[in-house]
């Protein structure tokens, strides 16, 4: 009887708030998904990496994409940028990354911003894996 209960419990997926909160927090604030699970060093390193990359991109006059249904690369650019979470919304609300591109390194800046968002997506998924116990 007890054995049946154990098997039944194992079959039901364990849902906890952390499984949802960790990736969401990690997406909104880079590294927060790790920090709320007490992975301090990982969280700080992710925060620094994504933040440095994002603001370096903006400093290099990179473009920040808005939602669009135009060119495929522009749509993908938006998806990447959106990964920056709160930084993305701040950048959009402050009109950062909207200037005309007139330097070669500005194109690098655009890629920096997109890649920062994609790295943040990976980090948020990693936070989810920690929350579900797939990773230490």
């Amino acid at each position: 009887m007890a054995n049946e209960k154990t098997i039944a419990n194992a079959a039901v997926p364990q849902t906890s708030m952390m499984q949802v909160v960790a990736p969401l927090a990690g997406w909104l604030i880079p590294g927060a998904g790790h920090l709320i699970q007490k992975r301090w060093i990982r969280g700080i390193l992710i925060f620094l990496s994504v933040t440095i990359m994002f603001f370096s991109g903006l400093g290099m006059q990179g473009k920040v994409y808005g939602f669009n249904l135009g060119d495929l690369l522009d749509m993908l650019g938006f998806v990447g940028d959106f990964g920056n979470g709160l930084f993305y919304f701040i950048a959009r609300s402050m009109d950062w990354g909207q200037g005309a591109i007139f330097r070669a390194t500005a194109d690098y800046g655009t890629k920096f911003v997109v890649c920062a968002g994609l790295l943040n997506f990976i980090a948020a998924i990693d936070a989810h894996h920690i929350a579900i116990g797939k990773k230490q």
Binding site: L45, V50, S56, F112, C115
Partner: protein
């Protein structure tokens, strides 16, 4: 504020940030994370140098 990075500096910043996140997210323990981060960093920088030299020869 405008940042005027050289191409190599930009590649260096990109490599450091990307390999840090790769190292943390793609491996399970600290030792492996550091090793994989360094591995990615070496490939990023090695790739940049190789591509740079390739373009230099192409130009000549």
């Amino acid at each position: 504020m405008t940042l005027n990075f050289s191409h190599f500096t930009a590649a260096l910043i990109f490599s450091i940030c990307a390999s840090t996140v790769f190292g943390i997210t793609q491996r399970d323990n600290t030792r492996q994370m550091i090793r994989y981060g360094l591995y990615c960093f070496a490939w990023f920088i090695g790739g940049v140098l190789l591509a740079g030299w390739f373009m230099w020869f192409l130009k000549r």
